[in-house]
Structure formats: structure tokens, C-alpha cells
């Protein structure tokens, strides 16, 4: 549905987006991750046709965003950052305006408004003026605008920004549900959001894609992925540590807590040995007569990976 090839954007000397390529198919939810100023919003603005690219091509549903602008734009629903709205309109009027602009057939407009209002939980503020809305309602009004024409492609720039935890939860579920029949790109810097609703995630830093995969694949790349947390008593910590380090599966042992009669440690596997590691530790403990209190494989966390690979930005 969305095909981005070698996309770049320069603002004068500054390179905001540097040679990015990716595709999103129908039924996929792509999460855009990255620190502030990484180029997420700029990329989304180019995909929606707001900013002209400096180089590269974008096609949405087979239509080129530059050559066949109107056809491409009519397939897209877009929630810009900060959810802009015309403050002089009521929620309902604004949605009617959006529906007309998005070419919803005259006879279906009222039904489309009702549906969008219901989907985004706006019943309570339906006739209220936009400039009297709270931030959460403003955000959802703008979200309603983006789905009013039931688009094939949805582009959402920080859709959960400024929402309370319940609303965040609702919006994530909504995205996940809509993702079954649409191609969706959304940006966020909340990592649990990616795990909750994305089928794929891309991490962008300084205009470049630095990681691309399913949330599970990305988590596996994290430094501590496959590590085993091990807590046992029955032997002095130093002894257990030495025994652990002798195992062929073990690369390193980080002691988290140590005592005369026990240890808590994070045991890191050697390359390719992560599957065999828990068993080896278990057998060792049995052989030495240790009492195991905890033996657990760490999943690797998206925020760790995120911090590892975008860390350089902080050091600048």
C-alpha cells in the first residue's frame, strides 16, 4: 500500500531524512520510533504529500504522491502532530467539513460522522465548540477526522500524545483493530505502545533507519536478550560465580546481589547458546545442591535496544 524508496529531505544544509526506504502492506501496523528530531514527522509529512521530498519517491496505493497527488491523498487519513483543528467550529461541523473535503458521497456523510464520533468516543462533545475542548477530546476529534472517509492508509503522528492512560489504551486497541484491514504508520516514543499494537517497527535516528523488524525481532537484538536471571542459596556467592563462569554456555556473569549463602546474578549466554543456557544452569544447581529461588529468561527490552542504538545522540 505504501512504498517509500530512497526518500531524503534537506532543509538548507540540514539533512532531516537521509535515504529511507520501506514498505507497508495492507494489514500491517508500522511503528515509527526514534528520539525527538530524528525525522519521524518529516517522513510522515512527505508521505502525506504535505512536504515535497528532496529526493526519492513515495507511492500510496499505486499512486505517486507527486505525479498523481489527488489520487494518492484521497487514500490517506492523516493525524498531524499536535492535532490541529479549526477552533471556530463545533466537533460535528468540523467532521462534516472533513467528510465533504475527503469526498465522502453526500448521502453517506451523516452516517460517516456518526460512526467516527462513536469510534473516537466523542458523543459527549458532539455539539461543543472545538476551542472549548480538553486536550484529549481535541486529539480524538482530529483522529476522527482522519478516519471519517474509511481510508486504506492511515498515518498517525503521535496518536496517543496527551491522552490519559485509559484513552491511550483505547486508542492502541483502535489502531490494532483498524490495522487488520488498513495499512497504518504511526509514530511514538512510548515503547510499550509499539509492543501493544505494531506488527512491525522501524527505529529512526538522525534521518536514517537503524533497525527494522517485528517487535520480537527487535527485542532479540537488545544486549540482554536471552540472559538468565538466577537466584539461588546454599553456597557462597564467589563459589557459585566461579562455577557459572566455567560453563561453556556462559559468556559473562553480572552479580546483582551477593552473600555468604547465596547469589543473584544475570548470566549472559555465549553466541548461539541462549537456548541451552537455562538447562545448563539448572543442572549445575542440582549437582551442587543449591536451592533455586528464581530462574528466568530475560526477553530483551525494546527500550534497552532503543537506548543502545540511539545513545550517541545524547553524547553530541
Amino acid at each position: 500500500m505504501i512504498e517509500v524508496k530512497n526518500l531524503s529531505k534537506h532543509f538548507g544544509e540540514k539533512v532531516a531524512v537521509d535515504d529511507i526506504s520501506f514498505t507497508v502492506e495492507k494489514g500491517e501496523v508500522l511503528g515509527f520510533l526514534g528520539p525527538n528530531g530524528a525525522g519521524k514527522s518529516t517522513t510522515m509529512r512527505m508521505v502525506t504529500g504535505y512536504l515535497p521530498p528532496s529526493a526519492g519517491s513515495i507511492s500510496v496505493g499505486g499512486a505517486d504522491i507527486l505525479d498523481d497527488e489527488i489520487a494518492a491523498k484521497s487514500k490517506i487519513g492523516y493525524l498531524p502532530e499536535n492535532a490541529p483543528l479549526y477552533s471556530d467550529m463545533s466537533v460535528e461541523d468540523f467532521l462534516r467539513f472533513s467528510a465533504e473535503m475527503r469526498r465522502v458521497p453526500e448521502s453517506e456523510i451523516e452516517a460517516a460522522i456518526d460512526k467516527a464520533i462513536e469510534t473516537c468516543f466523542l458523543q459527549r462533545v458532539r455539539h461543543q465548540s472545538v476551542d472549548t475542548l480538553s486536550k484529549g477530546f481535541r486529539h480524538r476529534t482530529c483522529l476522527a477526522q482522519s478516519i471519517i472517509h474509511d481510508p486504506e492508509v492511515l498515518i498517525l503522528d503521535e496518536p496517543t500524545d496527551g491522552l490519559d492512560p485509559n484513552q491511550k489504551h483505547e486508542v492502541r486497541n483502535l489502531i490494532k483493530r483498524m490495522g487488520e484491514t488498513k495499512a497504518i504508520i504511526f509514530s511514538t516514543h512510548i515503547l510499550e505502545e509499539v509492543e501493544a499494537s505494531c506488527s512491525r517497527a522501524i527505529i529512526i535516528d538522525r534521518g536514517k533507519i537503524i533497525a527494522d523488524g517485528t517487535p520480537d525481532q527487535l527485542k532479540a537484538k537488545a544486549m540482554n536478550a536471552g540472559a538468565v536471571i538466577f537466584n539461588a542459596t546454599g553456597l557462597a556467592a564467589t563459589g557459585v560465580r566461579q562455577e557459572l563462569e566455567k560453563l561453556p554456555e556462559v559468556r559473562a556473569v553480572n552479580v546483582l546481589e551477593s552473600g555468604d549463602n547465596g547469589i543473584t546474578a544475570r548470566v549472559l549466554p555465549n553466541k548461539g547458546k541462549d537456548k541451552a543456557l537455562p538447562e545448563a544452569i539448572f543442572k549445575l544447581a542440582v549437582a551442587r545442591g543449591l536451592t533455586i529461588h528464581e530462574l528466568r529468561v530475560e526477553e530483551g527490552r525494546l527500550d534497552e535496544l532503543f537506548r543502545e542504538i540511539t545513545r550517541t545522540d545524547m553524547e553530541d
Binding site: Y50, L51, I70, P80, P84, M89, D93
Partner: protein, 279 residues
């Protein structure tokens, strides 16, 4: 009785016809998107105090000045040319920018431009739709000026054709000022900045065609000649001579073409500015 018939014949009927033509164009010749934007913008004008404030202030000043400074009553002449139309375009130097300042600066300040320009429309749909809505506000001001026409018809027997021509000329002039404001508002997100710069440019545009400017152009000598192109340009695009021709009741093809070309050029420039700002 006679005055009433004259008013009907020269003002009410032409106004209704012009409005009907305008509405017909909007409904049948322009795309649905332009209509949608036009409707939204018009509602926005009349939902906010700005249109009312502009209309009321304009009517108070334009009528007040006619009686005090224009000496309508002392002039002893059943005409509005000297007392009314001589001043009328001056108000629009301020009023047209005041009405038009929000056109694109408001969109940029609210961020709604990003919504507007990612909808499946061509940019000119938005530019024309917004411009027409602001033009209607200016049109309403002129329509609401009718009491002055009634007064002059009550007092004497003016040439109502000439008075109508004065209104037509003023409207075209105001449309030019509005078009300039449209370009300026595309540059900035601040309405005040748009207002002040537009007033300055409209003043230049209004006075640029004056005789002293033409004289200055032809009397340039030596090193001052570097200013020739700029001065000549201002002189050529000056609105005043075209206004005078039209207001005299000479419905000149040349002047109408000048006004329409100027407006079209400004609206096109608005599109260029909006495009360049995003690139």
C-alpha cells in the same frame, strides 16, 4: 416614489443580478471543494467578531466622512463622486487587509494548513475558496452602504449609473487589496504582521499610479536611474488611474482586464509562496 424606482432600477436589481451570477458560478462552475471551503470560511467570518467590527467601523467612517469632510450637503451637487468615492477606496486600504489578514496566517498559526493541504484537493481550491469568502465580506460592506445612495436620491436627481460605476470601481479596487493581503498572509503566521505589511503595500499600490509618481519616473536623472525599474513598476501597477476610469462610468475593457489580471496574479503568487514555504 421616483427615488425609490431609481434605486430599484440602478442598485437593487443590478446587485441581485450580480449576486445571482456569483452564486451560480460558485454552484456550477467551481468544483465542490471550493464550495466547501468557501462555506466554511464564510461561517468562520460570521462566527467571529471580526467581520461585524469591520463592517460597522467601515460604515460609520465612510458615511461620517462624506458629510463632514466630503461636504456632501454644502456641495450643492447631486453627485457622490467628489464627496464619497474620492474617499471610499482609502478605507479599503485598511479594511481589506483587516478582513484578509487571517486568510493564511491563521491556518499556519493553528497548524490546520497541514490538514488542508493533505486533503485530496488542489491548492488553488483552497486559495480561491478562501478568497471568495473574504470577498463576500467586502461585498456586504458595499451593499450595506446603500443609505447614502438613498439620501442623494432623496435630495436631488443624481446620475445613478455613475454612482453604480463608483461602487463597481471601489469593489474592484478592494478586491485587489484583498488579493495582496492573501499573498502577504501566506508569508507569516502572525495576523498583525500580515495586517501591517498589507496596509503598507496596498497604500503603495493605491498611490503608485498618481501623477507625482509618473512625474518622478520621467524626471529621474544620473545615478538615480537605478530606481527607475522599481518606480516604473509601482507606477504601472498603480490602481488609482484604473479606479478613476471605472468610477467615471467608463466601463473600460482595459481597466477590467487590469483588475482581473492583478487579482489572478496575486492568487497565483499565494500558491507559489505556500509551495516554496513547504519545500
Amino acid at each position: 416614489m421616483e427615488a425609490t424606482i431609481a434605486l430599484l432600477l440602478h442598485f437593487a436589481i443590478p446587485t441581485v443580478i450580480v449576486s445571482a451570477i456569483f452564486i451560480a458560478i460558485l454552484l456550477f462552475a467551481l468544483p465542490r471543494e471550493v464550495r466547501t471551503i468557501f462555506k466554511r470560511e464564510l461561517k468562520a467570518y460570521f462566527n467571529s467578531p471580526i467581520a461585524y467590527v469591520c463592517v460597522v467601523i467601515f460604515l460609520l467612517i465612510s458615511n461620517g466622512i462624506t458629510f463632514w469632510f466630503g461636504s456632501l450637503l454644502e456641495g450643492g451637487e447631486a453627485s457622490l463622486y467628489m464627496s464619497y468615492f474620492q474617499y471610499l477606496p482609502w478605507y479599503f486600504v485598511v479594511v481589506a487587509p483587516a478582513v484578509g489578514m487571517r486568510l493564511w496566517s491563521e491556518e499556519q498559526r493553528l497548524g490546520t494548513m497541514e490538514l488542508m493541504l493533505t486533503m485530496p484537493i488542489a491548492p488553488w481550491h483552497a486559495i480561491v475558496g478562501k478568497y471568495l469568502a473574504a470577498a463576500i465580506v467586502l461585498f456586504a460592506m458595499l451593499v450595506l452602504s446603500f443609505p447614502i445612495v438613498w439620501v442623494i436620491n432623496y435630495l436631488g436627481k443624481p446620475d445613478n449609473g455613475v454612482i453604480m460605476a463608483g461602487f463597481v470601481a471601489t469593489f474592484f479596487t478592494a478586491l485587489c487589496f484583498l488579493a495582496v493581503t492573501s499573498v502577504v498572509s501566506a508569508f507569516t503566521r502572525s495576523q498583525i504582521v500580515a495586517l501591517l505589511i498589507s496596509i503598507g503595500l496596498c497604500l503603495l499600490l493605491w498611490l503608485g499610479g498618481l501623477q507625482p509618481v509618473s512625474a518622478a519616473v520621467s524626471s529621474l536623472k544620473g545615478g538615480w536611474l537605478v530606481f527607475w525599474p522599481a518606480l516604473k513598476f509601482i507606477n504601472i501597477i498603480g490602481v488609482l488611474p484604473h479606479f478613476m476610469e471605472l468610477a467615471k462610468g467608463v466601463l473600460g475593457f482595459r481597466d477590467i482586464v487590469f483588475f482581473l489580471t492583478f487579482i489572478a496574479f496575486c492568487l497565483f503568487s499565494t500558491a507559489v509562496v505556500l509551495r516554496v514555504k513547504r519545500a
